[in-house]
Symmetry: C2
């Protein structure tokens, strides 16, 4: 675990969806070409870059297993100035589920939390709930909560009623409502539009309520995951805080971890695996 | 109820979303100008044409009330060859809800079902469940099931896995699953993507399961509406059949009614109200 100092960083908005199979190396070089010398430098990547539509398909490892149970996948035919590796994702057969990228964050989290057993929530477009025991990912479930929030708030009839603001009390109330009556979610959503049409409900309150209904429904489905468990949240700061609040309202004790730090630590671990095998 | 013969029909794909405030009459005239003479002809309309963004805003009537409790709203400043009217929608204060268009279909349905008490389901983009008693709409709830199906199947990550086909058994199984465990809906959705990635689940089966999960969740929320009630479904033929099947699986007895016929009958009733007041 040497070389832990970040010397520089760069980022791009080009995700897998916008980059063709042959465009990954050029997109990477736009960011890092200035850092390269003549001797090959190791590039270690994780996430959708290893999907079928990614740079190279890195086959899933099957749970239960360590978050990074095998050496990262070497990308063939790269520019000679780099050796590129992709961390494989994890799959679960029953119920069917997959992850790419979160395994690296979990690995990084566990590296700094020796003997940690419990449940990790990784909120995002596709939120993951991951059961960890004895250093292994035992099981996990994925929720499309973030994507549904974006679609409903940005592209459904609710877009006319959802604004930029936020209201903590409205969020808490909606979360509790969905947790206690999850079967009513489908009924609650259009009610947000009607409340705007009939009584001009504030658009920030509407946004908080939409988020609360969706996260509440997710917490209803994941109750066996979080009830009475040791909990950690790894994610973007704002979103982690929202999930932490919702869980704390239910009496859960939650630790939050910085997702960038977890990713970097996990990638370092992956790189150490490549050195063993190289 | 004279003049019941349909002499001709015409339709346009220009909905409220694509037509500006001043473009309603031109859009209408594209369709019907050939039918007009010199004496004014009555045009009776219902639906989003009466919304704030529509041709003329026709204020909602509050339930409980008859489906069309007041004379349609006269559109001001039309071409002299027409007298145009818009049927007002219905609103409910608690829980907040609104409808525009369905009230006309309900009115048409009740005209041919004397003394009918029960619950009417009107499936569509925004499915309505309407409790009817003694000729009045007592209460109703709206579900964004159709819009969510379109967004999830067409614009979320599921679009890569949802195809054109259908599978009755997969639909029935998914409906029953969502009805018995509605809190698991949020978990089921991403499972459709994973089942495709991991075992190449047929895209028609995926489509039927997506529909089944969403309709099952709606039926879980509307159980008090349909359990042990006299039921009618008014909607497009295919969609009505899907809802009827799902309800019949739960042991409900369901009658289906032709939505075009209900709309025409309802509009005739609305026109008769304008004659009384004209």
């Amino acid at each position: 675990m040497q070389d832990q100092k970040v010397l520089d960083h760069a980022q791009s908005h080009k995700g897998m969806v916008r980059v063709g199979k042959d465009e990954f190396q050029p997109a990477l070089f736009e960011l890092i070409e200035g850092w390269l010398g003549t001797a090959p430098i190791d590039v270690v990547a994780c996430g959708m870059v290893g999907a079928r539509q990614g740079w190279v398909e890195a086959p899933y490892s099957a749970v239960p297993c360590e978050p990074i149970p095998v050496a990262p996948f070497r990308v063939p035919n790269t520019d000679t100035r780099i050796r590129a590796f992709v961390v494989p994702g994890l799959k679960q057969t029953a119920p069917p589920d997959v992850m790419r990228g979160e395994e690296t964050q979990i690995s990084g989290f566990l590296a700094t939390h020796q003997n940690w057993d419990g449940v990790i929530c990784l909120p995002g477009t596709h939120t993951k709930w991951v059961q960890v025991s004895a250093g292994e990912v035992v099981s996990f479930r994925t929720f499309m909560t973030g994507e549904m929030f974006d679609l409903l708030g940005g592209q459904s009839v609710l877009k006319h009623s959802v604004g930029e603001g936020w209201d903590d009390a409205a969020f808490a109330e909606a979360t509790a409502d969905a947790l206690s009556k999850p079967e009513q979610l489908a009924a609650r959503l259009f009610g947000l539009r009607a409340a705007d049409l009939l009584r001009g409900q504030d658009s920030g309150i509407t946004r908080a309520r939409l988020s609360g209904f969706l996260i509440g429904a997710e917490l209803a489905a994941t109750r066996p995951y979080w009830l009475g468990q040791q909990l950690a949240i790894i994610g973007a700061e704002n979103l982690s805080e929202i999930y932490a609040k919702a869980l704390q309202q239910q009496g859960a004790f939650v630790e939050t971890a910085n997702s960038t730090q977890c990713t970097l630590t996990g990638l370092l671990q992956a790189r150490n695996l490549t050195r063993q095998t190289a």
